[in-house]
Symmetry: D2
Subunit: 144 residues, 4 copies
């Protein structure tokens, strides 16, 4: 089912701050790690430098809501849901669970870009080979 993907991590010492909890920016790093592992599972390159292919997926909008703190060595389960699939963009929903409790939820909208002129990036339609492997998760899957 290529619309949902799960990854597990243990909180690292460097991810904590002086309040004794995970610093909030790390949830965005975990979202990206989960997206990368999702693409790896689909045998799709997330980033490609082959001419004519996708160059990358710069973020246009990201957000995260925090419900409970995580601490050093906690095990966190990250679940990715493909929420929307546009012509040139994709929106992922992420849920973070610790021991079956939802501790945070985030969203990332990324746009598909190819190489433009002078080393720039230009939005482009999601290539057919990529689109063929992506599917939107039903709202019931993420409690929407």
């Amino acid at each position: 089912m290529p619309a949902i993907f799960k990854m597990t991590r243990q909180v690292e010492f460097a991810e904590t701050d002086m309040a004794g909890i995970v610093h909030f920016v790390n949830f965005f790093r975990w979202m990206e790690s989960c997206e990368t592992a999702f693409y790896r599972s689909l045998e799709l390159p997330l980033i490609s430098f082959v001419p004519g292919q996708v160059v990358g997926w710069p973020r246009v909008n990201v957000s995260c809501t925090y419900r409970a703190p995580l601490r050093f060595n906690d095990t966190v389960e990250v679940t990715l849901f493909v929420k929307k699939l546009g012509t040139r963009s994709v929106t992922y929903l992420f849920q973070f669970h610790q021991a079956a409790v939802l501790v945070a939820a985030g969203e990332v909208t990324a746009v598909c870009v190819g190489a433009g002129e002078k080393g720039g990036m230009i939005a482009q339609p999601i290539p057919a080979a990529v689109r063929a492997k992506l599917q939107v998760a039903p709202p019931s899957a993420w409690g929407g």
Copy 2:
């Protein structure tokens, strides 16, 4: 006017990624740096370990929208606006400009916490000494 605060930074090499642009999570680090500098300018401790005082401001909701990429050594101007002031929480709006162009905008809602039992944190009303120094920026200031 304790409702708006500006800070300038230059993009560091470690803030870039292999796409040659600033990695998106750094905008959240800059929001927090600007909030810290804002508190310093008000002569308020952002974090205090004095018993009975504010312990910190954990984030409950954050978001960022990206319009244009930033690159190594670019100068970015970060502007903080106090958007909402609740009993126990505050919402900041941040605008990021490069050479007068708005390249990104973000929001952070943080809740005021004090020390709870067993080393935990518990939401508490924003102390009067802090509230006295904070003021909501008029929407006209941030183009709202």
Copy 3:
């Protein structure tokens, strides 16, 4: 053999920089992650807030030598060797391999501290329960 420990990671997008390779500071984060996983494997807490126990292991000296760059999605094998075991300190040697090629090597000397007065930290002998689980790796193991 509690003197050597191996961990595998895949390079994350956020760990790269605009040169297209892993930013050098990440090797130190990986050293610490490997040390944490090593302690977990020994069922020892790396950090403890139980009064009278080890509070932590602040670093007093660290170094890293780089031989070849790593790139996004590369698999890196991190090997920890306990190189020296002092009364109050430990020195770890780390080797980083990609496809059996040594790409980097680092060292970390950390000192064992307990809680001092006024929230400070004070060096203390490594507790017997910890020392009982640590053993120095023979130089032949790390090619020394």
Copy 4:
């Protein structure tokens, strides 16, 4: 005197860890920030993508010794000394002071690279235009 350069920073919240002090990897980020500011002061590009010019300065060896911890909002003064200037490499020494007390010292050896074949990097002699602006600091300057 283009052999010594000073930069001041205030410790950010995100730079602390659960031990309540600056996480040790940040000192390496500060070394790199100081190196970047040093190059800016010399009106030299640290990184250039102009064909035939320096592409970058990958690190081959780095180290840091820690004497005292730094905490949130502390002001740290970073001093860079050009310690050695080779044909293809440079070694910087960094000292970190807080209120005139030396809290840490580090070294970075970086090699000058240009663009090689297939997008790779290849060591090259430091260009004359760069070398003309660099000078070795006398050991007496850094207490060597």
